[in-house]
Symmetry: C2
Subunit: 228 residues, 2 copies
């Protein structure tokens, strides 16, 4: 066992946000330390000797952005020599999707600022963080084909068009709306309420929908086959 | 940046093998060093300072088992404090599926022996390697639902029943054979040849099949929705 291994272990988090107004967002911090001082980057940092990888990512997110997030999934580990100019650093990355409304951003420790950016309008990122974001986006896009999403992101009651918008924002392309509605109905994770949408423009108001939570989480566990 | 981080970085490999005679196999080594000396474990070891994570896993597999494997995918990173009694070790794990025929096993370095075991008949494993195998098996089972498998594992020409057997071995359950055949035909990644199977028992010999490689790799890239 080479006792003098010089590799460090870090965690980085790709936190996606979604609002129907702003679309798909990503949480970035402005680095307040060298290297890449002043550049935008994913929140993250070195793992402490005694903490689990999961505890490390939640701690870093809280320290650098002020947000407390309860659920992230492990994404991929990035370890190419040279990806950090200081030391060899292997980063174990995590990703997740949250509702930014009500999350107060509050930069701290190594971060001078913390902000949401639209994924289509990100600044240059430090290190290989742009690659990490690409992998996370691909994972998210492939995931929504075999798991329902939306419960954590939409209001309790929402017009059906909001779910369509969410899928289009994540997939970054138009969807076949008729087919989409048929498939969603078939899976049965939505309940149509009798309440009508309050319309800001003229037109026939549609009914509002809500999630059938039991069905939703069962399907999340079992998986679906959702070609859109 | 806590310069004195004491965490080490290792790689471990879950190499599944498949033969129609032996079913789904896993490649294990017998540890020749403490801790867990004499116990079976996944091949793997610490990453060298200058090598990539991928180079590290291929090197460890070659050193400890003698096999040269060209393609493994990253599985998951395991980093719970205490998983290794010596140091805090984060293991970045890889998995893949190979054809064991013709692979000569040849234990070396930290391994006193290297052998294939049926996944349903594994010995006790060192560290948290049993958990790693469980995660790899689940990943493999979920993967074959959205990607074709078999090209690297079956003979160039094979009776259709061989593909069924492979899916049943990986899924560890019976499949609806009529439905399976219909779905496979629909995806079109198999070509039915005019050659007949040489039968060892009485009965009507079926035609042999081979993979339409172009279609196969296109579907592997694009993904399928293969409820079996």
């Amino acid at each position: 066992m080479p006792v003098n291994q010089k590799i460090k272990v870090a965690v980085d988090g790709v936190v996606f946000g979604y609002t129907s107004k702003d679309g798909l967002l990503i949480l970035l911090i402005k680095r307040d330390v060298t290297p890449f001082k002043g550049d935008w980057a994913l929140p993250g940092g070195l793992v402490l000797d005694e903490e689990s990888l999961e505890d490390a990512i939640y701690r870093e997110l809280k320290e650098e952005t002020g947000v407390q997030i309860n659920y992230l999934e492990q994404l991929y580990s990035f370890g190419k020599p040279g990806r950090d100019p200081r030391n060899r650093v292997v980063s174990i990355t995590y990703y997740g999707l949250v509702k930014p409304d009500g999350l107060m951003l509050n930069a701290g420790t190594d971060a001078g600022d913390a902000r949401w950016f639209n994924v289509k309008n990100m600044p240059e990122l430090a290190f290989d963080h742009r690659d990490i974001v690409s992998v996370a986006l691909k994972r998210l896009q492939s995931k929504i084909v075999y798991e329902p999403i939306g419960f954590e992101l939409l209001d309790e009651k929402f017009p059906f068009s909001e779910l369509e918008k969410l899928y289009m924002a994540v997939l970054d392309r138009p969807i076949d709306r008729r087919n989409f509605k048929k498939k969603v109905s078939k899976f049965g994770f939505l309940i149509e309420t009798n309440e009508k949408q309050a319309l800001e423009t003229a037109g026939r108001p549609g009914n509002l929908f809500c999630f059938d939570q039991e069905k939703y989480f069962q399907l999340k566990k079992d998986g679906i086959n959702f070609e859109i």
